[in-house]
């Protein structure tokens, strides 16, 4: 699903965020990405979501080499990725329902279909009774779950999460991680960036560690060249 091949990312100004990173995350697999802040976790996720482009090396997502994808193709690639952010990135001027419906509206679903899917998605994160609420009235954990509902509502093949439990207490964090594991059980490929090492140990999925932009630990098979 995701294959990094000697990927380097150098930001303007010379800072090298990723240096020769290679790994392969197979389809249907779930993995954690760990490392200190500044180790390059966010950069790695941004490269997959095409928010940034690699400076060198190849990055293949679902058979598509992201290094030479034209800008006009970017939205269509992103539609197969569900992204969850630490700070939720919810739109506070609309209801929970409208927030979750956004990916379906973009994809042009019919009205009836949208209602069905949004409710199914909210049901999965346990917020079915909150569809008419404003996100601002929800707790941090609930807002995060709205973000997750939005990321899965269009049934993407890949879920990316950047510190999804960053602001939550341990119990809520565990719930969220278990939610991701459930999505993985039904075939979604999941990659979660987190520095919560204790929690990751409990979950028991493969771990990739970054240290100063380089891969320092890899439970996954190494990327095969060519």
């Amino acid at each position: 699903m995701i294959r990094f091949d000697n990927v380097c990312k150098r930001y303007p100004g010379g800072h090298e965020a990723l240096n020769n990173v290679s790994f392969h995350l197979p389809r249907g697999e779930m993995a954690y990405l760990t490392g200190h802040s500044g180790a390059g976790k966010s950069t790695l996720l941004k490269l997959i979501a095409l928010i940034e482009r690699p400076s060198r090396g190849n990055l293949v997502l679902d058979g598509v080499n992201l290094s030479n994808v034209s800008n006009s193709k970017v939205p269509y690639i992103r539609r197969n990725i569900g992204i969850i952010f630490q700070n939720h990135h919810l739109l506070y001027d609309r209801t929970v329902f409208d927030n979750v419906a956004l990916p379906l509206i973009i994809a042009g679903y019919q009205h009836k279909e949208i209602g069905k899917r949004v409710r199914a998605s909210l049901d999965q994160v346990g917020l079915l009774n909150k569809e008419k609420s404003a996100p601002i009235t929800l707790s941090g954990g609930e807002q995060q779950r709205v973000g997750i509902a939005r990321a899965i509502v269009h049934k993407p093949g890949l879920l990316l999460a950047d510190e999804p439990t960053g602001n939550l207490d341990p119990e809520l964090s565990k719930e969220i991680m278990e939610l991701f594991a459930r999505f993985n059980d039904v075939g979604v490929t999941v990659l979660i960036a987190s520095h919560d090492l204790d929690l990751i140990k409990q979950m028991g999925s493969p771990v990739i560690s970054l240290s100063q932009g380089q891969l320092s630990h890899n439970d996954l098979e190494a990327a095969t060249h060519g």
Binding site: I51, L91, A107, Y109, H111, H154
Partner: protein, 318 residues
């Protein structure tokens, strides 16, 4: 991929999805405007005033041209005969002139008849009687054959008439019509200049409003880009908003123009009645109003297009 395939089935056909999206955005952008009624109304009012001003001037100019449009063809030569020419001589002269090729019609204004009418209309009856004799000469009015290709023909005719020994003065009552037309031409050009400048103003007003709107929706644009919204999808609500501003401004401008005309209509009617004229002020025709609304839509759309082109690409998720 099986997962994506099952999505495709649930999704509607591309055209239907496209149409759904457009309709949804069209209505949503209208909803967005009604959520901030005061600022939306002010934008629309600015557009409307900027359009109503040249439209109103255009209406006035149109009416002025309408009044004068008949005069160009009815060029009339007034021939003042010498004071000592008798009515009989005048009749003879008239008969002679009728034979001219260049002359269509000749009629005589008898000096006694003219004096009687003048006394009646002017109210200077007593003063004129005090003069003793009749100071007015006989006058012939000549309707020349108008040949657009030979404007010098009439001038030649006037020259000929002026050389006649019984004629004091022959003159063409056309000079002032020419001057009026020249003035109308200037007015027309001025209106075009004003309209162009105000059109640019509308473009800038809409552009600036949309720019502010884009900045207010920065977060939403970033999120939409992150979850796979195409540039076209993100652009659409802003373009539709520009279109709505255009429609609103155009319709309101129509209303303002009609209102302004109805406000001065009474005064014009009064003036026309003083000239014994049934003249009525003509407002914007339906097709003119539609052209104005169409132009307004075009300006609104173009203004938002410029703003969107300049500012939307600046917003990228990071």
């Amino acid at each position: 991929m099986a997962r994506a395939d099952s999505n495709q089935i649930a999704k509607s056909s591309p055209f239907k999805a496209w149409a759904t999206n457009h309709l949804r955005t069209l209505i949503a952008s209208l909803g967005n405007m009604t959520r901030q009624p005061a600022s939306s109304f002010m934008t629309i009012a600015v557009i409307a005033i900027a359009l109503a001003l040249p439209a109103g001037l255009f209406v006035l100019l149109n009416n002025a041209s309408n009044i004068s449009i008949g005069w160009d063809n009815s060029a009339q030569i007034s021939v003042f005969l010498k004071a000592d020419v008798t009515e009989r001589q005048a009749d003879n002269l008239m008969a002679k002139l009728r034979l001219y090729d260049e002359i269509d019609q000749v009629s005589l204004i008898n000096k006694d008849q003219a004096l009687k009418e003048f006394k009646k209309i002017s109210g200077f009856g007593n003063a004129i009687e005090a003069l003793g004799g009749n100071p007015l000469p006989h006058v012939l009015t000549i309707q020349p054959v108008v040949d657009a290709n030979r404007p010098d023909k009439i001038r030649h005719l006037i020259k000929q008439l002026n050389q006649h020994k019984q004629i004091e003065l022959a003159q063409l009552d056309l000079q002032w019509v020419k001057r009026l037309f020249a003035m109308l031409e200037i007015a027309q050009r001025s209106i075009w200049v004003i309209a162009s400048l105000l059109g640019i103003a509308v473009l800038l007003v809409v552009g600036n409003t949309i720019r502010l709107d884009i900045q207010n929706h920065r977060e939403e644009i970033e999120v939409t880009k992150l979850i796979g919204g195409t540039d076209a999808f993100i652009r659409r609500p802003f373009l539709y908003m520009g279109l709505w501003y255009g429609i609103g401004g155009g319709v309101f401008a129509w209303f303002l123009t009609m209102l302004s005309i109805s406000l001065i209509d009474n005064a014009v009617e009064h003036l026309a009645s003083l000239y014994n004229s049934g003249f009525q002020l003509r407002g914007l025709s339906f097709s003119e109003a539609m052209s104005m609304i169409g132009l307004s839509c075009f300006l609104g759309l173009s203004g938002s297009w410029i703003a969107v082109g300049r500012h939307l690409s600046e917003i990228e998720p990071s």
